[in-house]
Subunit: 346 residues, 2 copies
DNA sequence: CTGAAAGCGCTTACAG
DNA sequence: CTGAAAGCGCTTACAG
């Protein structure tokens, strides 16, 4: 029913080799037969089978993308941008969510292999560097928004340490001294770095850090909300929270409001990622922006290069995050009050 | 380098036909050779090539999913659930965003065909029923969260008319009479139906509807916010808005807050979809829930059935939406005031 | 410039 | 129960 290369060849009165050549613009073909073959292909609505040509040693022109959870806005935006640029480069993308379990990760990678994807992009937190190292020999891989420093592998990510500093300094600049942080498990590299950035910013500002102000939680909105609540209840002196992603930021807003706190009046909040969420939420969330679009474009470029060139030089592209100032941060109430009072010194 | 069926056959001292049979559990194979082959397969870490077996007339075990925008939380959640159930059934899924343009839609469908996907799930608003009808002959298709009533095609969607009524009646029950609506272009079936539900609810309650309270806009958050602003500014008598999706609902909240209105005190809002957004936002958004998880499961089941059975009976599954009551709705201020005043009659 | 033939890694009758 | 052979729809040397 669907036309094959044989149908085209027969109709055009040439061999399938010739048809193949005009499809792939390879070898020398006379203009006449080329146009004729092209015309027949069009008439028959012939589309070469990717699976057949893949079997002959060519590519499948599909990429695998592994991420923790497609329903998470940050990863959904990553996926969208990877997808867009991949399409532009002639690749489709197969997407799998792993919920960060090693089991689903291995399963899906093995699936990708069976389906002969040309390369795999990982946005997921495998700690299993050994496995990846092994796989990498036979299949191009790249990391996005993740880091496995021990591996020679194409990587594009944001400097999370700087991001954490940026967020914390912003708060410090506004006069905050008691700053809480809510972060994911520190085995996740990006969380660890953001937390390091937070600690470093405090230290640089000469603010002693209080370990009790650090909450490490699982990645789900509910725990974020509870953690924020506990933090707020236990530390009335705390005037600001750095939430290590926008989802957590939203959760902090909720917890604060439930306790009758106004934002930013009673509690300032800065998030991370600059997803749709930060924009849409009320108050709009001040956050550290990852250049998601650009990052998506870059991983795709890296992996395609590594697909097309044997032994391409691996790169590690570190983007600099930027603070996007919105409405969830102000000076702490105490400071405000001081400012409003006529200073005794004037 | 990667082991093939030949390697396994040689190692096991059998023919490739035999290996194939043990892989596919077909034909009669002695227990001994089966275990032997299985052992060798394991030793060689052999995984059958899906592309080779696909070429032999079998399936590719991949599904295509076409949606307007993966970065939109509603569709991201659809994608996640489709993906999950597809994996459970042994299928991978290739995802493409179309931004609802016909051009990208056709392009991506054609791509899916070249890659020999086993079936296509459409969550996208093609009006091009003719094309789909044609394609359907050669390739199983199913619709999710979309409707093309003129087509005999597997479909699972929510009853948008009832959804619209539910939302509006909820508002009416709370005493609202001047209810605005913000909806996408009415050529999108679901929007049209939700709006019909809204009108019908008003009519049933004997409330004359005011055409000026209906805002039809493009699908983007910015226009939603502007539209909400205009509605609020022009109609101080309006006490509630039905936003045809949660994203719009969030935009309405913003617009209202910008104007110093309190929610739900001054303005009640109900959304649609019950995405993560509705939960995370402040105030939590009362909304009409689509059973996204269930819907994802069902389309996958439908399309797989239609892949496996020639001429399967097409189904159209209409789920009933449910109102999820949260904090964005209360009685209108006027009514509240009356309630609070000692009634002159007592 | 064009074509015959082998081969990619499987599956599927068919024969034994 | 097992295997030889053809075929799926292409591409790629190689010959002419």
């Amino acid at each position: 029913m669907k036309a094959t290369i044989y149908d085209v060849a027969k109709q055009a009165g040439v061999s399938i080799a010739t048809v193949s050549k005009v499809i792939n613009r390879k070898g020398r073909i006379s203009k006449e037969t080329r146009t004729k073959v092209l015309r027949i292909m069009d008439e028959l609505n012939y589309k070469p089978s990717v699976v057949a040509s893949a079997l002959t040693g060519k590519q499948t022109y599909t990429l695998g993308l592994l991420l923790p959870d497609l329903a998470n806005p940050f990863f959904a935006e990553i996926a969208r941008n990877v997808e867009d640029h991949a399409h532009k480069m002639g690749f489709s993308v197969m997407i799998c969510s792993t919920d960060n379990t090693l089991e689903r990760e291995e399963l899906n990678i093995s699936l990708f292999q069976q389906k002969s994807v040309d390369g795999i992009i990982l946005a997921t937190g495998v700690q299993n560097g050994g496995m990846i190292k092994e796989l990498q020999k036979s299949l191009p891989m790249a990391l996005i928004a993740r880091d496995i420093p021990t591996l020679t592998i194409d990587t594009v990510l944001v400097d999370d340490f700087i991001g954490g500093s940026l967020a914390t300094n912003h708060l410090i600049d506004f006069g905050h001294r008691q700053i809480g942080i809510i972060t994911e498990d520190l085995i996740v590299m990006s969380s660890k770095e953001r937390t390091r950035g937070y600690l470093n910013a405090l230290e640089s500002a000469g603010i002693p850090h209080n370990p009790e102000l650090i909450k490490i939680i699982d990645f789900d909105v509910q725990s974020a909300r509870e953690a924020a609540g506990e933090l707020i209840d236990a530390h009335p002196e705390m005037t600001a929270i750095f939430a290590c992603n926008d989802l957590f930021g939203a959760a902090v807003i909720k917890a604060a409001r439930e306790r009758g706190l106004s934002i930013p009046g009673d509690l300032s909040i800065v998030g991370f990622d600059n997803t749709l969420l930060a924009e849409i939420i009320d108050p709009p969330l001040t956050t550290v922006a990852q250049p998601i679009r650009e990052m998506g474009r870059l991983v795709v470029d890296l992996i395609i290069r590594s697909i097309q060139e044997e032994d391409s030089i691996k790169q590690r592209i570190v983007m600099l995050p930027e603070l996007v100032s919105r409405a969830s941060v102000s000076g702490p109430a105490r400071v405000k009050a001081e400012i409003n009072q006529p200073s005794p010194l004037t």
